[in-house]
């Protein structure tokens, strides 16, 4: 391959990021400040709730939505997490997930709608989503640091990039799957664009969209440990610490807590999609 000089992709990337850092860092910093306040606010709110009360509320919710067995599992699981003194870490992780998922929905839903409605948008968005999902997370974890510093903010941002695609994809899919006849129904009775969206398309795409949000939550959880590498604390932080110090017991405890959190979030959001 000597006859074609090496394409300096790495150099270009470095230059591009250096350029962005130089010119955009003020904006990104203010975004970072805002995000940090939001995430901290959510976390402080979660920690403020007495753990026993929190556990009972979530267990009751799980019982109501996902059945008695899930309710009991939630009760025991969360008490176990509380018992092994990972409550604060769990709440920190939960706060991260909540804010990440919130942004995924806020950005992903409109993008999904756009992709469903507009063929050109669909053609542009789809390859970007493929790119976002397959690019190893570490590769964009690093550039996030110059923009947003270390800590929880770049962690949430990388999580959003990683976990948003299913929301966009499944929103688009759900809307595209609405039967042609129901679209004709809406149009023939004189619905406006937003009436079509709010009264026909989104309600009918509801369970597909919720499946996307469920996947989004699961992907966010899987980013927790990776995000810990750039200073996000929480359960991932404990796992990361355990890896670095070869502390197998500590790693296992935090790992089990992540699994428990994952199961509870998964079952609750899954049953949201099924109910009705």
């Amino acid at each position: 391959m000597n006859y074609i000089p090496k394409i300096p992709l790495a150099e270009w990337t470095d230059k591009f990021i250096a350029y962005l850092t130089l010119h955009c860092s003020d904006t990104t910093q203010s975004i970072a400040d805002f995000l940090e306040k939001l995430i901290l606010g959510i976390k402080n709110f979660l920690v403020m709730i007495p753990p026993e009360l929190f556990i009972f509320i979530v267990a009751a919710l799980a019982w109501w939505l996902a059945g008695r067995r899930m309710g009991i599992f939630t009760l025991i699981g969360l008490f176990f997490v509380y018992n092994i003194q990972l409550w604060d870490a769990t709440m920190a992780t939960l706060a991260m997930i909540i804010s990440a998922v919130l942004f995924c929905i806020l950005l992903g839903l409109p993008l999904g709608i756009l992709a469903a409605k507009n063929k050109t948008a669909y053609k542009i968005i789809t390859p970007i989503l493929d790119f976002m999902q397959t690019l190893p997370a570490f590769v964009y974890l690093l550039p996030a640091i110059p923009f947003f510093g270390l800590g929880v903010v770049p962690a949430v941002i990388t999580t959003v990039i990683f976990a948003m695609p299913p929301v966009i994809r499944l929103t688009a899919l759900g809307i595209r799957q609405v039967p042609e006849e129901l679209i004709e129904l809406g149009r023939s009775f004189g619905s406006t664009f937003f009436q079509m969206l709010l009264k026909i398309e989104l309600p009918l795409a509801r369970s597909t969209i919720l499946a996307g949000i469920n996947q989004c939550i699961m992907l966010s959880l899987s980013m927790v440990v990776i995000a810990a590498m750039i200073g996000a604390k929480g359960l991932g932080g404990d796992v990361w610490k355990a890896i670095q110090t070869l502390n197998m017991g500590m790693g296992f405890e935090a790992g089990v807590a992540i699994v428990i959190l994952a199961i509870i979030l998964d079952r609750i959001t899954q049953s949201l999609g099924k109910s009705k």
Binding site: P179, E181, E184, L185, S188, F189, G190, K199, I200, R206
Partner: protein, 408 residues
């Protein structure tokens, strides 16, 4: 009064419809396949024109792929025609902007769909109220109107059920109620009964006719079932290969098909349900007035070789009929009064009575069946020969072949 006028509507699918239109203009007889081969454009509808009167049921009938659904969707602009005009109350719908179009769709049109198109997440009442809801009518008023519409289609008491609780026939009633709830003038019905089983379909057709008697909507009804078309339609447009091959009243299409295609199409239809007495009746060649004496009557019968005669007054009102043997009897007695032997107990039909309702009478009657109009004026008579010819699909040109006497 013209409610809807469709003028020279063309729909071409493809990226370059102008080429196809140019071809069509150059050679109106060019085939759809040839256009597709030459221009890669697909013809949906070519040069279709018709008009529908207010309160009329207009059926667009054709097999799948004939363009009938496309035509229906051009009317409410779900599909934008490539060329042509569509005038509703004199207003050209193809020239409206989005906002005006939404307004027209809300106020003037209701659509009923083949597979019902009910929203599964809404109750029956909420489904029926959909058209009102998007017009931002308040909750109470729309519930009232929706309930009224549901009552019209016989679904009172089902308001709070979900569509999946209902049978197909009931779901389509909800669909019809939804279209009626906004009280539009124009109902667009896209094969509304095709997805129902035959018994229910039949029942729904009857109910639509009943509803129409009360509501007098202008209905555009698409179907592939000729029996249905004949039953529902005041007028039928028969479509083939993207154009209308014949427009006319059901009888016209049955009795004088415009070409072989239509003729083949109408071959298998149940004519007894389409043809009325007026289509197959013959002129009563001889009638007699009460003051004519028995001798005159007998002579008339003898001359025409028949054994009975209708009796009318001077204005043509049917009084009854007389039989040769009775007349001969009073003639022998020297009685000049025909009145005594006029038989009043006889089968009568109206011009719009369906043959299906007359077949039994025709099978057993000993005397000709008189056809009278609403004033009881004699307008014709039914003889078995012409009725059978009508049912067999042959328009009877010459009534002379059939003697009125063939009945007795």
């Amino acid at each position: 009064m013209k409610k809807l006028e469709v003028r020279n509507v063309v729909k071409i699918y493809g990226s370059n419809p102008d080429k196809a239109i140019a071809l069509l203009q150059k050679n109106p007889e060019i085939g759809n396949d040839e256009i597709r081969k030459k221009t890669k454009q697909v013809v949906g509808i070519r040069d279709v024109s018709f008009s529908v009167d207010s309160g009329e049921s207009f059926v667009i009938m054709g097999l799948s792929g004939s363009g009938k659904s496309t035509l229906l969707r051009c009317i409410n602009q779900l599909i934008k025609p490539t060329a042509g005009e569509i005038l509703l109350d004199g207003e050209d719908l193809t020239k409206l902007n989005d906002k005006q179009l939404i307004e027209i769709r809300r106020k003037k049109m209701g659509m009923v769909f083949q597979r019902f198109a009910l929203l599964p997440n809404r109750t029956v009442l909420e489904n029926v109220a959909y058209g009102l809801e998007i017009q931002n009518i308040n909750r109470q008023e729309r519930a009232e109107k929706a309930k009224k519409a549901l009552e019209m289609v016989g679904l009172k008491g089902w308001e709070d059920y979900y569509p999946h609780n209902l049978s197909g026939g009931m779901q389509q009633r909800v669909g019809i109620a939804r279209a009626l709830a906004t009280d539009p003038d124009l109902l667009l019905m896209d094969e509304p009964f095709s997805a129902l089983d035959p018994l229910i379909r039949h029942e729904m057709q009857e109910e639509l006719l009943e509803l129409q008697k009360k509501l007098h909507k202008t209905i555009i009804f698409v179907t592939h079932d000729l029996d249905e078309a004949i039953k529902i339609g005041d007028k039928i447009a028969l479509m083939k290969d993207a154009r209308i091959v014949q427009i006319g009243e059901p009888e016209e299409i049955l009795l004088s098909p415009a070409n072989d295609y239509v003729a083949r199409f109408v071959e298998n239809v149940d004519r007894s349900k389409a043809l009325t007495a007026s289509a197959v009746m013959v002129k009563p060649r001889t009638v007699i007035f009460p003051k004519d004496g028995p001798r005159t009557a007998l002579r008339s019968m003898e001359k025409n070789g028949i054994s009975s005669l209708f009796v009318t007054d001077r204005d043509g009102h049917l009084l009854g009929y007389i039989r040769a043997e009775d007349v001969a009897e009073i003639a022998n007695q020297g009685d000049r009064q025909l009145e005594r032997v006029i038989q009043k107990d006889m089968p009568v039909a109206h011009p719009d009575t369906l043959l299906a309702d007359l077949l039994e009478v025709l099978a057993y009657t000993k005397v000709p069946v008189a056809v009278v109009d609403e004033d009881n004026k004699l307008v014709g008579t039914l003889v078995r020969g012409s009725v059978i010819a009508g049912l067999a699909g042959k328009k009877e040109e010459s009534h002379e072949l059939y003697s009125e006497d063939s009945l007795s």
